[in-house]
Amino acid sequence: MSRPEDNLPPDLFYNDVESRKYTTSSRIRNIQADMTHRALELLDLREPSFILDVGCGSGLSGEILSNVEPEEGGPHTWVGMDISSSMLAQALERDVEGDMLLADIGQGVPFRPGSFDAAISISAIQWLCNAETSDVSPESRLKRFFDSLYASLKRGGKAVCQFYPKNAQQRSMISNAAIKAGFGAGILEDDPETKSVKLPKSMKS
């Protein structure tokens, strides 16, 4: 199967038509919900937290964060970043509770140090392995992203990123950038059969 990442930059791939298709597909919604619940389980947040959602898209994960029951440590308050204005438009249409920025995570995370209790990213950061322009390398964009993500978390804050690496090289490129930034990146393969779900749990101490 061809990977969208190899063909178009994300803001062009996730245009109005694709963003609507993505957001309204019940198959996709179920998969993204499962992965968000898995990420929440790994984050193990005990009280209502301030969370960054990296590549938040149309807010499928955010909606779950907003609806975590008090008994389960919620509800959480989140801020999302995404490069696709069409995805964000879908989120607006669905009236999500989080704030959103139209932003390229390869340009860094523009929050002051220690802002967030935690960060999640579901199915987004593999896009950073494809550089959009010739004057920036994927390595430098990944570095910029992970360094600033690390700084934006409070002490002890965690980030859980689920992503789809194309191959072993992309996978180590991503985890190396995370480790260099200071994260204790552990890659967890939930679904070794299909090699589709990989969750590096990153911890900041």
């Binding site: 009280e47 509800p75 959480h76 920025l101 139209l102 523009p110 929050f111 002051r112």
Partner: protein
């Protein structure tokens, strides 16, 4: 965008990173909107120590909102001193609901939103446009 978020956002340019003037971003031609949300007292208590109160004060002044007190409210100011409301200071634990301070903070941080306008960096002068509550932080490559 909630004023809460504005209290954490900085200019995205690398050259502004170490400049104290890059935070907070200054609202310009801002259109405010009040969006009702449910009060989350535990979240408020969690986020309170992380707020930059001075920035909060300057942002509210720039937006023409009522002045905030000089001091950051303390965690214990968020709960009603006397749960039963008879003012005798007893029964504090019994029904400790959110105080007026907590309700005001909730209204300011969680419900007061910038619907449109600009956010301006005090260091480089770059203006980030806000439309439908969403701030555009995409930088042209020569500014990254």
């Amino acid at each position: 965008m909630k004023l809460l978020t504005l209290n954490f956002l900085t200019c995205a340019r690398k050259s502004c990173k170490s400049s104290p003037a890059a935070f907070p971003l200054h609202p310009k031609d801002a259109e405010l909107e009040q969006v009702e949300t449910e009060m989350n007292a535990v979240f408020l208590r969690n986020i309170l120590p992380r707020l930059e109160w001075e920035a909060m004060r300057s942002i509210t002044t720039e937006l023409g909102l009522p002045n905030l007190p000089a001091e950051t409210p303390a965690s214990e100011d968020l709960v009603e001193k006397d749960g039963n409301g008879d003012g005798d200071g007893k029964d504090d634990e019994a029904a400790a609901g959110p105080s007026q301070i907590a309700r005001d903070l909730h209204a300011l941080l969680m419900e007061t939103c910038i619907a449109s306008g600009k956010l301006v960096c005090g260091n480089c002068g770059h203006e980030y446009a806000v439309k439908e509550g969403i701030a555009n932080f995409l930088l042209p490559s020569h500014m990254v």
